[in-house]
Symmetry: C2
Subunit: 679 residues, 2 copies
């Protein structure tokens, strides 16, 4: 590690990545306002972009700054993921810290730290402890990202309450967050105050460079959306606030999340980048042995296709002991070690409508037809562990009161994972899902998880910002327009291109609980007017393409039984030594290979959008001179996501590191491959 401070006369205000390609320059404007530029291979990627904060009852932190001190640092470590896409992560960067002070009366101080990696940059603000800045209420953070062109952009609206949108592909100039905005929709859980996008937002420049903007280590702060100026190609941080207009309330000293820009020459490099986790602090959980990555079954899909119900008052209550045991049997026979049961506890009647609700949720009392302890014990006997479920309806007041008893029950029953849910508008009223209040709530739940040995899979969550490095209990989350939209009728479900965009946007933030693997893609006879807009082979491929340490196997048991394609789901790993994106174009197709951590097996998944295409898959990542049995599950020539989605073929052949496979994908199709060493 090389660390150096510079004297006043000879200050360093530039910092360059280890491979010399990425360069950040800090500057003070004419009004002495902090600003920065980013260059990649000597081309400007972010033009002069200003930084400032507006505060409540105080002058803005905006201009009249002088540099007190600058410090540079070169850092290089390799750390191990407890679970993840890769076993080892290289964390190498050069950093520059700028310490600033106002020259005007208040003499307030703020520091800015840049970390420059080969795969992008992060910067954060530090508010040191000081006399004239102790209680800070931030009403606006104004961090600019001044783009250098009308980039092709993949974006969702900067909704303060929900992320469940299809990505729009458009020139930056055509971003319109209000395009599909209907106040009051999404179960009352939507609020878009201005033309902003949420992060990660990903772009491709005319020169073929890929950029993605996000944040890392979102802790005790409000989420950042990015307000867009579609005429000047500029973005500005727009923090999520609350009804009182407050965005962040803190006491100095504190620091903001990292503002991040991933930069890549190939789209796959965005996915292989570890920038977001690297910008988080190391693991603080000594013993994570209670959680093992797993596949899991459950009753979730029943509820979406209408063969079951969450609430006991309705017919076909799904959470009953008998069905749970059937699922456990099925799981234990098929190399699946988790089982999730929603709707098991009282309070589901009118669960989405907090005003009409008569019985509130509690998180310890099962419905009469569900014997929780019996199910847990039966699961244990079959090596299948229950995943607990907590739907809160976003009534945080209620849930936080019950957190201790709810988590104590899990500790007592040795349940080591919980899926939480936050459907609907937040209580207390005036708070939004993505504001500081909720960020802190999600942190509280993570800490409760660590205390009780419970991993958290949050739905309607705050977006991932790499905190899984520091808190590996944060195993997965939703925050995406998931598979369930295909079972709903409103807008035709997720189009085939959806999951060719998601890996380059939402997935850059962290693991996704997407629930792939629906075999009955026609949804007949349950949802006559709906369907899954992919082929069956595409569904298989998602177990490789979409990363999560917990992967659901959601379809009805009868749709898997006797279907030869189910072998792939049985075989597929869930924890990885190495991940490689073999080929991709955002919104068109992607091919990913992952090596299982506990074996020498590789798995490959490829998916395409609504266009059929042929791809070549080079197996040059295999161990040389070793033979593997490749089992290829792929579309047939007449497969098509609309009129022939469920036909596929299975090919088996010996392959080695010199093999190049040529595979056709149907419209909305894909392929999945398992590669098992022969000896």
């Amino acid at each position: 590690m090389i660390s150096c401070s510079s004297d006043k006369e000879n200050r360093t205000t530039e910092v360059i990545s280890p491979n010399k390609k990425v360069k950040v320059q800090f500057l003070l404007s004419a009004t002495k306002q902090p600003s920065y530029t980013v260059r990649f291979k000597n081309e400007t990627v972010i033009d002069t972009s200003k930084m400032s904060f507006d505060l409540q009852n105080a002058l803005s932190l905006k201009g009249n700054f002088e540099i007190l001190k600058t410090t540079t640092n070169a850092f290089n470590e390799t750390w191990k993921m407890v679970w993840g896409e890769d076993e080892e992560v290289v964390n190498q960067y050069n950093s520059l810290k700028i310490e600033l002070q106002e020259t005007s009366t208040l003499k307030r101080k703020i520091n800015i730290i840049f970390k420059v990696y080969d795969d992008g940059i992060g910067f954060r603000y530090e508010f040191p402890k000081q006399e004239n800045l102790s209680e800070v209420v931030i009403t606006d953070e104004n961090t600019e990202f001044n783009l250098t062109g009308n980039h092709k952009t993949w974006w969702i609206p900067g909704d303060w309450d929900i992320y469940e949108y299809l990505y729009t592909t458009s020139p930056f100039s055509k971003i319109n967050a209000f395009k599909d905005y209907i106040p009051g929709s999404h179960l009352g859980q939507t609020y878009i105050p201005e033309n902003a996008v949420n992060t990660p937002v990903t772009m491709k420049t005319d020169k073929g460079l890929y950029l993605s903007f996000h944040e890392a280590d979102l802790t005790d702060y409000a989420e950042m959306t990015l307000a867009v100026d579609t005429v000047n190609y500029n973005m500005k941080s727009e923090l999520v606030g609350n009804a009182k207009g407050k965005k962040v309330i803190r006491k100095t000293p504190f620091e903001t999340p990292w503002r991040t820009i991933q930069i890549a020459e190939k789209p796959g490099d965005l996915i292989e980048s570890k920038l977001i986790v690297n910008l988080n602090e190391p693991n603080t959980v000594d013993d994570m042995s209670f959680f093992k990555p797993t596949k899991y079954v459950g009753i979730w899909w029943d509820m979406h296709i209408g063969t079951g119900n969450w609430d006991y008052a309705g017919e076909n209550h799904s959470a009953n002991t008998k069905y749970a045991k059937e699922l456990i049997d099925f799981a234990s026979e098929n190399n699946i070690h988790g089982m999730l049961v929603e709707g098991w506890n009282i309070g589901w009647e009118q669960w989405w409508d907090k005003k009409a609700k008569k019985v509130h949720f509690d998180f310890v009392t099962p419905y009469p037809d569900y014997n929780l302890k019996e199910v847990v014990a039966y699961g244990k006997s079959k090596n299948v562990e229950l995943i607990m479920h907590h739907e809160t309806s976003a009534d945080i007041t209620l849930y936080e009161k019950q957190l201790d008893t709810a988590f104590a029950l899990m500790k007592d029953l040795k349940i080591h994972a919980v899926k939480t849910g936050y459907v609907g508008s937040v209580i207390p009223e005036g708070e939004y899902h993505h504001g500081q209040f909720m960020v802190n709530h999600f942190q509280k739940v993570l800490e409760k998880g660590i205390e009780n040995g419970v991993a958290i899979n949050a739905h309607e969550p705050i977006k991932a910002t790499g905190k899984r490095r520091t808190y590996p209990v944060a195993i997965s989350r939703e925050g995406i327009r998931g598979q369930e939209y295909n079972a709903w009728s409103e807008d035709g479900g997720n189009p085939p291109e959806h999951l060719t965009i998601v890996p380059f946007t939402r997935m850059l933030a962290g693991p996704i609980d997407y629930t792939p693997g629906i075999f009955n893609t026609s949804l007949k006879p349950y949802k006559e007017n709906n369907q899954i807009n992919t082929t069956l082979a595409h569904q298989l491929a998602l177990y490789v393409v979409i990363y999560s340490p917990v992967q659901m196997v959601p379809d009805l048991i009868k749709n898997y039984k006797n279907n030869p394609a189910f072998q792939f789901i049985k075989d597929i790993g869930v924890d990885w030594k190495k991940t490689k994106v073999l080929d991709a174009e955002i919104g068109e197709f992607i091919t990913v290979a992952r090596q299982e951590k506990s074996t020498e097996n590789w798995f490959i998944g490829g998916i395409t959008d609504e266009n059929a295409r042929v791809v070549k898959v080079k197996l040059n990542f295999l161990v040389p001179n070793k033979t593997y049995t490749a089992k290829i599950y792929k579309d047939k020539l007449d497969s098509h996501y609309l009129h022939n989605p469920e036909v596929y073929e299975i090919l088996e052949q010996d392959v080695n590191s010199k093999t190049i496979l040529e595979l056709n994908m149907a419209a909305g199709g894909g392929f999945a491959i398992s590669l098992i060493p022969k000896n």
Copy 2:
């Protein structure tokens, strides 16, 4: 006129436009299949594209052809529009007729005629009378349009039943007609059998050339959609069929509609192009004096915002004598000479649900609260003519039985226009809105109109193909996602960019009954969650931008009264001597100027998408050395379609042909200008 035939040895198979820029080449492939190419300024615009027909119970007309004869022709005329965007139309083209015969046993004949204009091309097939081809059932027409790149495309799905979609802007490779497809939606009126687009479909090439594909003179034939091959950038005609798989049933001799390609170097040239009407036959209606272009009021908006009802059984039945007279009073005070009343006749209870319906529509019996004769007479006394209304619920069997009595009533009452409606699935079952059966129905209604002196404004119509030249009773039509979508909640209404795309797509087909001019853009207190996604000034501009010889003034009377902006609607013309697109970029903004036919007044309208912008308007089209009073209705600096849509300012100044106005448009905004000569 120069017409020449060529002998066998020296046949002409090329034809070039009068200005020499557009060139069509006809060729026979290796299998002697007819094909063609199109070049513009020596660059290939349409690469070798094949032509063939599949027939029922007969061999395809596909290969083994020889050329019997070719004929070229140079044509030049100027004709007058009865009503329209321009008083005089130049119709100048060079044509090439290729007479083909099979060399195989059947020796069937087909002719292909190309007309090449400066603004694009049209070609049609002639099936001559012949022994081996008399009764023809076409199961597929395979006319290819082989594109030369992945053009930026503005498209709607090739739905066989409805055109009411937002335009998607995407690369050609990303066209996916199924993207938002929900079988059973649109009141059961939607059917998309394959990945196809409807026409006009418009494109921009990488080199900045604009192309639009459509058809002209759709008569006794099925509509053409275009199936897309998104990998090879190819389109192929896909005719609309019926449940029996038949697409067109004809006897020779007959000819197909013209397949058209408009080619333009500026987007505005697409709009100024008269290709579509020029490819239709001259006017066949001797005396069109019964119809005069007009603005009209009505009760239509009441029904969409919920202040009124169509059916008598519901509360607030809108079609009542008292309200009709109020509207007549308002119209006659404000230079408006038409009034439309929907829901006046019996049968509106459950009108969209033909199965549940107990009382069928008839087209002569008013509800008890509506005195038709009294309303007509009161209107006449105030110089306001009633526009009749026929909603058929697409029950063609029922409507055709009543056509004679229905039109006789109008003739009797001297009503000279009718708005027809075709909501829901077609009866007889198995027919689709855009198939040959319905094309012939619409033709029948036009003929009934001519017979009885009634002009037709069809909603849920067959698309316009320029037949208004031959039958000027075809005054306007819908076939677009209209203003009413803004009053409905499902998907947020029409985004601001909608009407910056429509002029370059739907409007190339013909006049649009869009119903602009909503002043209460917030829709408060009627529709709290909806709004019009434009500013008020944008609404005014639409009276110039969107062409129709009948323009509705749809908002509630109270929203116009005492609003100074209403003066523009009072002043605006509806019939034009000259139209000029001053500046435009598809999907971003457009500025149009039109000169009124009966005065020397000019009107200018400009609209923008969701981006604010400043445009310069050069008035160099005004008569030199003449002074005009310009009244400019425009957005204020703080106008915005979302949070401040109804504020505007009116500026008045003297201008002449040397004046250049610089005008700001707000996000979703616009401006409207009247230019009145000073003396």
